[in-house]
């Protein structure tokens, strides 16, 4: 779907991190956790390409003007890293954005009601909030959040308000336990091997470590990847990653945009 969204709010929640709330057409309510949006940050050739962002949250609220009735809203949690995100950071209430989405395959939230654990690294936390809200209905959820320092640990209170038990770790120990989020997660698994599914989003090395651990414990693991994207719909083949059986002769490339961004960790070629 392609639509014009209006900026409701755009707030800096931590140095360099913003929460952008947008109006969206009712049909976007089908968005699943893990799906993403391709955002044209402004109507110009600079920057040229759309920028991909996960869905932080989705809600249908009472809109400002009664006429239009209830309004569907999408939220993005983004980190300012370059040109496009700098343009986003300058948006005001009432500005408009051209958006494509929801795109890609989201997280598989089905299951037997067993315990689910979420692992997020830095801005990788973004898609996990909406996922947590969806999972909570029928299963207990734990969150493991990691980052370089306290500034990278986002919206923890929002997660806790959902009644989720959270384990925070930072490289410099400025918040939570000092160390790697994967270490904390593994320690937890060693005491509670009965976890049903692991959901992870963050830097590639973290996802690789998580998938290794998951494999060792025989726990199904879904990872959400990032890739540099041009089209977002499977046409440019710019965002590919290697599938488990990839060889030069029999290529097994998957599009992060179309076959993902969420993959079963066993589908992928990790080294």
């Amino acid at each position: 779907m392609q639509f014009k969204a209006m900026v409701i709010s755009n707030t800096e929640i931590s140095p360099g991190y913003f929460r952008l709330r947008l109006t969206a057409p009712r049909d976007t309510a089908v968005s699943r956790p893990g799906q993403f949006l391709m955002v044209k940050v402004r109507d110009a050739t600079d920057p040229l390409l759309r920028r991909p962002f996960g869905i932080f949250d989705m809600a249908t609220i009472d809109s400002e003007n009664p006429e239009t009735g209830r309004q569907t809203c999408l939220e993005i949690l983004y980190k300012v890293v370059g040109k496009g995100t700098r343009v986003l950071a300058a948006l005001h209430h009432g500005d408009h954005l051209d958006i494509l989405g929801p795109l890609g395959k989201g997280f598989d939230t089905s299951g037997r009601g067993g315990e689910k654990i979420l692992v997020g690294g830095g801005v990788g936390l973004a898609p996990l909030y909406y996922l947590a809200r969806r999972l909570l209905g029928n299963s207990p959820v734990r969150l493991f959040a990691g980052g370089k320092n306290r500034e990278d640990i986002l919206c923890i209170t929002e997660f806790e308000r959902l009644g989720i038990e959270t384990y925070v770790s930072t490289d410099d120990g400025t918040l939570g336990e000092q160390g790697m989020v994967t270490a904390v997660m593994e320690r937890y698994l060693s005491d509670n091997p009965s976890v049903e599914t692991i959901y992870a989003c963050g830097p590639f090395p973290m996802l690789k470590a998580v998938s290794r651990i998951a494999e060792r414990y025989g726990i199904p693991c879904q990872v959400s990847l990032e890739a540099y994207m041009a089209c977002g719909v499977g046409a440019c083949l710019g965002c590919v990653i290697k599938g488990r059986n990839h060889t030069e002769e029999i290529p097994d490339y998957r599009c992060v945009c179309k076959d993902g961004p969420v993959f079963d960790s066993l589908e992928l070629f990790w080294d």
Partner: protein, 305 residues
């Protein structure tokens, strides 16, 4: 007011309007069904096809540049077998001409591929991408040497009775010389331009951004170069010319028509807006209507110079 006549014909391929999809920017069509009506445009040109499946290059494969982008996909594609098996069935259901873009790494590959495609009813025509190295001959690029281009086009010409469109590379000193070589070799039409070879560097890493080191520059940034080459070639040859390069609006497309193109291909713009081709075709028709122009064909090559 009667609607303007937007139809054009290229080498016997009848199109409802002059807007086609540029190869490699529209997949095999099916990727765009959720965003546009595939029967609203003139023709679908599919991703560059080779005999055998091709893995393509390592990533990163794309990077944005000022007003454009570099790509080094490495012509990843499913190969002709899978194309026939998996892609043709869908394309058969779309009432829009399908033109297959093809390439090879040797004369033989081009020839064999053309023969295979010649037998496929759903294929309305071939677009030959000659911007590829001839591995058998020290990797000299077919599209940058008139003789090599002549040979490959002649071979394809003899291998098929379907319309043969030759897609020219802009990385040459004299685009008109290349155009003449292809015309003499029996091309039915010429399309230009393919991408310009460029490079992007990651300063901190002191490495090229693209795994392939260099890539092809496309998008609005190259439009002035494309427009100049289309104008030069259209004046020089007696073949229909298809304009390509940085087209993102009906105005852009009509500028190419005025410069001498009979039709256009829209590439990178489909990444910015998946319905770009439909929107451009629609806006072109509106422009003609608003300016009282009866047929798009009246505008071809009407540049005063």
């Amino acid at each position: 007011m009667t609607r303007p006549d937007m139809s054009v014909e290229i080498a016997g391929i009848k199109m409802r309007n002059p807007v086609m999809t540029a190869s490699g920017t529209f997949g095999y069509g099916s990727e765009f069904v959720d965003y546009m009506d595939l029967e609203s445009i003139g023709a679908i040109i599919t991703k560059g096809l080779s005999l055998r499946p091709k893995a393509g290059n390592r990533t990163p494969r794309i990077v944005e540049t000022p007003g454009g982008m570099l790509n080094a996909i490495g012509l990843q594609n499913v190969g002709i077998e899978a194309f026939i098996r998996e892609k043709i069935p869908f394309l058969r259901t779309v009432n829009t001409p399908v033109i297959v873009n093809l390439y090879g790494n040797s004369l033989e590959e081009y020839g064999e591929l053309a023969q295979r495609l010649d037998k496929i009813a759903e294929v309305a025509g071939l677009e030959v991408n000659i911007s590829c190295p001839n591995v058998r001959q020290g990797g000299i690029v077919f599209g940058t040497d008139p003789k090599a281009a002549y040979e490959v086009v002649k071979l394809v010409r003899e291998a098929t009775i379907k319309p043969v469109i030759v897609k020219l590379s802009p990385n040459v000193t004299d685009i008109v010389e290349m155009a003449h070589a292809c015309e003499e070799a029996g091309a039915d039409a010429l399309s230009l331009i393919n991408t310009l070879t460029g490079m992007a560097i990651d300063l901190q890493k002191r490495r090229p951004v693209l795994a392939n080191l260099t890539g092809g520059l496309s998008g609005p940034a190259i439009k002035p170069i494309a427009l100049r080459m289309v104008w030069q070639v259209a004046k020089a040859v007696n073949l229909p010319v298809i304009g390509i390069g940085g087209i993102t609006s009906a105005t852009d497309a009509l500028e190419f028509i005025v410069a001498g193109a009979t039709a256009v291909e829209v590439g990178t713009a489909s990444f910015l807006d998946p319905s770009a081709t439909q929107t451009i075709a629609h806006d072109m028709e509106r422009y003609l209507a608003e300016n009282g122009i009866v047929s798009i064909r009246e505008m071809i090559g009407t540049l005063e110079d």
